[in-house]
Symmetry: C2
């Protein structure tokens, strides 16, 4: 689905800024508002930081991006078009690994059956220690 169609379906307009912000998030994989802003600045004229915030909020409303609070402070956005994935974050080295949702399918089933809770897998983040750091 084109960005323009999605926007116009709700009376919004396609602007270069909106396309750029979506491109930034898609290309970066994970991006804070600041990082997205920097990405845009590198390859086009700068987009104001407040526009970045407004655009990310809009894109999230449209379901094109999602956000999670991965690190300390800033929220991290990623494109919803990307295949859903679970984040593994190493607390020692900070590395972010992605694993397929099938990994957590049993958990999702369990929560649904026993708690009536429908988990949003695309938003799931597991903190811990990665293989590399666990050796030391």
């Amino acid at each position: 689905m084109e960005l323009q169609e999605t926007l116009r379906a709700k009376g919004y307009r396609l602007t270069p800024q909106r396309q750029l912000v979506l491109d930034a998030v898609t290309d970066l994989g994970h991006a804070t508002p600041d990082e997205a802003c920097a990405w845009v600045k590198e390859r086009s004229s700068a987009v104001n930081i407040s526009t970045i915030y407004r655009t990310l909020e809009l894109l999230e409303e449209l379901g094109l991006v999602k956000h999670a609070h991965l690190s300390h402070g800033a929220p991290t956005y990623h494109a919803a078009a990307a295949p859903e994935h679970v984040h593994l974050i190493c607390r020692v080295c900070g590395a972010i690994t992605e694993v397929p949702p099938s990994t957590v399918a049993p958990l999702v089933d369990e929560l649904d059956r026993n708690h009536g809770f429908v988990a949003d897998v695309g938003h799931l983040t597991v903190f811990g220690v990665c293989a590399k750091c666990h050796q030391s």
Copy 2:
């Protein structure tokens, strides 16, 4: 283990403020720095918000509290002494449910076996829609 012993083992001192902050987190179950500050203010003389921040950081270093990024922005702390639990957060009504770690044991095993990733269950948060909100 007493708070005082734990502190002194590392050359730190026990102060009323530190005891109060730990009490706040323990009693509240989940608390943002601001909420902990309010709790203290209600039953004792006020503790400066910067002291709250410094104390939470210290208590976390000592392993007495842990934090997660549950909501938008503010980190949420909980006592490490409390039994470990997984947080289920409903994106519709905001309700926080706690479930025992056994629920996610299969997932934890899987991540360890296939990715060498040792998950920190006490820090695990699952976003989704709770039973109540899912009906509508």
